[in-house]
């Protein structure tokens, strides 16, 4: 069992890579979210290993993991928990919901009604849950990785900007390359059968996740401490302030970045520097993370949308102006 936080990042990456082909950037963003305690929203079409990635990460770091598939008929108590009457004792006892975990995968979060989304997002913000008259702190660390399907918007409730702002990062997943996809198929072909006493069935990638974690919470905590020691220069902060300010003054943007976005840039940049083995942040961290930190926080003006402009185009303009 390894307890060396210096090897935390490569060990976790290696373990995830055993079951997931490619998606290095997503793994990097998940590591950043894990190291900073920020929440992550993944946008991607079904079938590109979102759930597998989160599952593999949770197992690799020995985190308590819950998965909730959001549906339109869910209630806040389905996530947070509720008070139940214990008939044996005649007293109410608290049933804690799936939110009481280290890593919560909120699958297709936009399919739930707004009150369920709000309940979860409150828990994300305050890191505690109130059931009945009592408040319960959530486990530490607590991280939500939510997913959204960018297509099939019928019957969904789009998260408003104020709630999207709670997610430190919003990463857009892409399809694997041809080589990577070929490797996925090759691995699947060689997986074989999973035998049980009752019978057998073909193995899936989930069966290939090794049971033994490569790191523990202690390593994660030490890694988080190291991230907090990553040096952020005054010049880098000037870059961040200038970048956030440009999103507020661009003529095509109706709603620019909040101060929370600036904080997220700095925090994420620190974690990224740690992931890349640096003890200081550099402008590249800002430029690499800008899309994931900012794109879900800005709203284009009506005129810009009417002209067919995309948020990514406008953001790139800002980055070009900055650089």
């Amino acid at each position: 069992m390894k307890h060396n936080h210096r090897h935390f990042v490569p060990a976790v990456r290696e373990r995830v890579a055993e079951v997931v082909v490619g998606q290095d950037t997503v793994v990097e963003r998940m590591m950043i979210a894990l190291l900073t305690g920020g929440h992550l929203l993944l946008l991607g079409v079904p079938g590109i290993a979102k759930t597998l990635l989160v599952n593999a990460l949770a197992r690799a770091v020995d985190l308590k993991f819950s998965r909730v598939q959001f549906t339109i008929d869910m209630l806040p108590s389905d996530i947070l928990g509720s008070e139940l009457l214990d008939q044996a004792t005649g007293k109410f006892r608290t049933h804690q919901g799936p939110v009481f975990t280290n890593l919560l995968l909120a699958d297709e979060i936009n399919r739930a009604a707004p009150k369920v989304q709000s309940a979860l997002l409150e828990a994300m913000q305050e890191r505690k849950v109130t059931i009945g008259n009592a408040s319960y702190p959530l486990p530490v660390p607590f991280l939500v990785i939510a997913t959204q399907n960018p297509i099939e918007q019928a019957g969904t409730f789009e998260l408003p900007e104020a709630q999207l702002d709670r997610f430190m990062l919003c990463h857009r997943l892409t399809y694997p390359t041809a080589v990577q996809e070929e490797e996925v198929l090759r691995r699947q072909v060689n997986m074989g059968l999973k035998r049980t006493e009752a019978g057998a069935m073909p193995k899936t990638a989930f069966d290939m996740i090794a049971g033994e974690p490569v790191c523990h919470l202690e390593d994660l905590t030490k890694a988080m401490e190291t991230v907090q020691q990553v040096h952020v220069s005054d010049v880098f902060m000037k870059h961040c302030v200038e970048f956030v300010r440009l999103t507020r003054t661009h003529p095509n943007i109706e709603l620019g970045c909040s101060p929370r976005a600036g904080l997220s840039v700095v925090q994420a940049a620190r974690a990224r520097a740690y992931v890349f083995g640096r003890d200081y942040v550099v402008p590249e961290d800002l430029f690499q993370l800008a899309e994931d930190v900012v794109l879900h926080r800005i709203r284009l003006s009506y005129e810009a949308l009417a002209e067919g402009r995309k948020p990514a185009q406008v953001l790139e303009e800002i980055l070009q102006k900055l650089g």
Binding site: H231, S233, H239, Y280, V282, P283, F287, E316, L319, L322
Partner: protein
Amino acid sequence: MTCRCYLWLPALLFLAANSGFSQATNGAGAGHAIGIEGRIMLDLPRPDYRLLPLDDRTELILRIESVSATADHRQRYNFSYIGMEPGDYQLSDYLVYPDGSRPGELGTFRIRVAAVLPESHSGQLTSFTPGQFPFLGGYRVFLGSLGAAWVGGIGIFIWSYRKKRLVVVPVTRLPESSFAQRMGPLVEAAAAGKLSLDGQAQLERLFIGFWREKLNLPDQRMADALVYLRGHAQAGEFLRALEHWLHQRAGASAAEVSALLEPYRHLPAPAALTGGAT
């Protein structure tokens, strides 16, 4: 004038009706107004007179209301009539025997239908004098004004929103300063150790832009361009040295900064630079 006409016309009709009644009673052909039903009672020798068929040009409509025998073996005919034209109408012209032959014994008895208006009347019931077209006011003037306002309004609207004639004002635009020109004062200040934090941030961004331009990467995404720059031999080495100065906790000494910036001092143009920091 019109009110007076309404007053005397019913009175005239009332008098005419009364005169017809007296004519019938007397069996005489006294005057009776046109359009007003009159009655005549006559004793005639035979009981079988018939009325001539009417047509649409008949000037007198005559009807036999009743026939009854009198004590002197004559027949009392009760006629009613309506005259369409004023004049005297001979009764024998309107009665025939059952075989269609004209009766000769009726003599020259006439039914008189009097005109409502006097003979000398011109036929004009009310006096009418066409007025002059008013200079201001009136329906036509109102419509004319409305049309003129509508046409004029459209004209004003089109004129107001016409494409303004472009007035070409000669503007002397200064050529956009190059990265090298913009970096110059900042580099000098940094070499002298007098560059502020804002200046340092600006200088770093200008260096990134400078190298993007130098390596022809302006159309590349910034994130990709930076990866490329860091991988480039000269640019990568220079940017890492710059990061060491600006972003590492220890920073760089004045001598290191001076050496780093030396190739970028007094740059005439970006193309003049042949290499990065060494």
